[in-house]
Symmetry: C2
Subunit: 359 residues, 2 copies
């Protein structure tokens, strides 16, 4: 029997989306694939609320994040990076690996930097090529809630605005064009509820021109190469066809529900998680005004053994959740509130957690 | 209805392997995934005939080839590269992108360089860090048949020996350890008959030590990072779980048949293709002593229009084949003789081709 996968990605995939992977193998240099590719791109644009280009990598989300850096950052470039957990720190490291300098706008774990901190980072830096914002920090369950202002700040300084929305796109508001996002990064296995691992990015006309003017030298993550093949509806390298079929169907599911309904459902379920589990003594690790709607981070009540708790939940109740990251290993657990989430799944999850915590 | 996919990858995937993708989504940081991962690695070692390490990337074969270069080649390094088609040329380009110098051992299209040409390349180059051999050049259907001698040559000069076997591993002889191959590169969607796109590499102890001594700075294709996670049975980044399930089952299929039987079957089917289609006026583009057992390259008889021919074959006979590459576009067609290939499929394919050529 399939378990309830309540980790912050991968997440439960519906039978309908799973079945799409059974569609026949086809040549990825054929009209049939080109139609599939173009359909996926059009639907992704609707979900992202963008008229920009879409690039889909056969890779994890980290691959797509690395692409957003290796294609943009050159030796000597400065990037302001919001740093409030594992994934923000990783972006900072990647910028340095590609020869850039990272200027961090940091906050303690459980919180996220506010606009003053971003403004300060811009003010103290001579020229900022890019602002990287982690919209939803998967390691701490914290969401950065000032995307509009962050976009305006980047725009004021002429910096590219990159948003890592891997763990909440499809489950939280992100009107890409309206917010002036130059690169938005998502992944198939989170709130879009498809299997892993496709990395999906959108590109503004402005950043596309920058890539084409100054193309990177890599191959597999070379965005201009993807854009060139995208014109005919292809990918430059062999794509993971079954995952494309599944993503196409997952996008159908999302668009049939309607993105506003889908986002509201995620928010409603997140609120249920926080309030019910809070009453059971498992309080949000994230500050209330920045807590995530898609990754629920909870501190263990005193005396609960992390590994034992999660093992019992898995083996006796068929519910899989995740532990904490880094220094919070053992001290917190994280629940994915993603994709297929609904009140019934929330009930099943919290009831199982309640039983195990009650021992 | 599913068509007969006779391109040189992706290739037909059996119902049994397709069905494996329906196994439940699980956390890739869990004992269940660790068991799957370790099983896949052990079976891959048997197929590769190696005791070395295995790394599996969620990427196309090109991603794995790039990894073999970005992890090994440093500015100033020289690499001898066999260059006799599209994919060899691409390896040469990649070496230069990562700061190395490519010394080509070339041959005209349809042939491949012989040992004298490789020896000459080594002799004229001061220090050679690596020898990259394309075992089976997918663009021309030519196989390099002197791997043993090439390995001895690399060893004599202390160079690492890298073999790109993407389009024939599992369908042609390649005892990795016996031949002293330091990095062997394969992909899921070719002779292993799994869906695309997992890139698979093996590593000798010697090259592993080199990577660990001098790790590259990238993330997604950082081999030392994969090796570190592999110790516990995990991948550093979210893997394409359905493709792992499928690869596991495809490896079961291969090992149940036995690799010697599987390779003999590929060879037998290739011989049928060459002899029957030759009698129909479509002769091998590859020289006879270096023709591939897995990619059948054939020149069109005079007066056949490539696009029209392949379209009719696809639409009226449900057989999908590939065209030529580069300057041979329109002049040749290529048939994949891979994975599930058997005499019945050969008959279906050549009978359809015969009918369309007969018009």
């Amino acid at each position: 029997m399939a378990k309830l996968v309540m980790t912050p990605g991968p997440t439960n995939v519906s039978a309908r989306v799973m079945a799409a992977m059974q569609k026949p193998v086809i040549n990825h240099r054929s009209p049939t694939f080109r139609k599939l590719y173009k359909d996926v791109v059009e639907k992704t644009k609707t979900v992202f609320e963008t008229e920009g280009d879409i690039v889909i990598f056969t890779s994890s989300g980290t691959g797509a994040v690395e692409a957003s850096i290796s294609n943009l950052i050159r030796p000597g470039d400065n990037a302001v990076v919001t740093s409030f957990g594992e994934f923000g720190n990783r972006v900072g490291e990647m910028v340095e690996v590609y020869g850039g300098t990272t200027v961090k706008a940091s906050a303690p774990l459980g919180d996220c930097p506010r606009m003053e901190s971003l403004e300060e980072a811009f003010e103290k830096t001579k020229e900022v090529k890019a602002l990287y914002v982690i919209y939803n920090e998967t390691s701490t369950g914290v969401a950065f809630r000032w995307l509009k202002q962050a976009g305006e700040l980047a725009s004021k300084y002429g910096a590219y605005f990159i948003v890592d929305a891997i763990s909440n796109l499809g489950g939280d508001e992100l009107p890409v064009d309206k917010l002036g996002v130059d690169i938005c990064i998502a992944a198939s296995q989170k709130c879009l509820a498809a299997p892993p691992a496709l990395g999906i990015i959108s590109l503004s006309a402005r950043v596309k021109a920058e890539f084409e003017k100054n193309p990177p030298k890599n191959f597999y993550f070379n965005i201009p190469r993807y854009l060139k093949f995208a014109e005919k509806g292809e990918t430059p390298f062999t794509p993971a066809l079954p995952l494309f079929y599944a993503l196409d169907e997952a996008l159908n599911v999302a668009l049939e529900e309607g993105m506003q309904n889908r986002i509201a459902r995620h928010k409603r379920c997140a609120e249920s998680f926080y309030s019910i589990l809070g009453r059971l003594g498992a309080n949000s690790f994230a500050k209330e005004d920045v807590r995530s709607n898609t990754v629920i981070p909870l501190l263990y009540p005193p005396g609960v053994d992390d590994l034992n708790f999660r093992k019992t939940l898995d083996e006796e109740h068929d519910v899989i959740i995740a532990g904490g990251f880094g220094e919070y290993k053992g001290k917190m657990f994280r629940i994915g509130c993603m994709g297929e989430i609904n009140e019934k799944i929330v009930d099943q999850t919290v009831s199982a957690i309640g039983k195990v915590l009650g021992r």
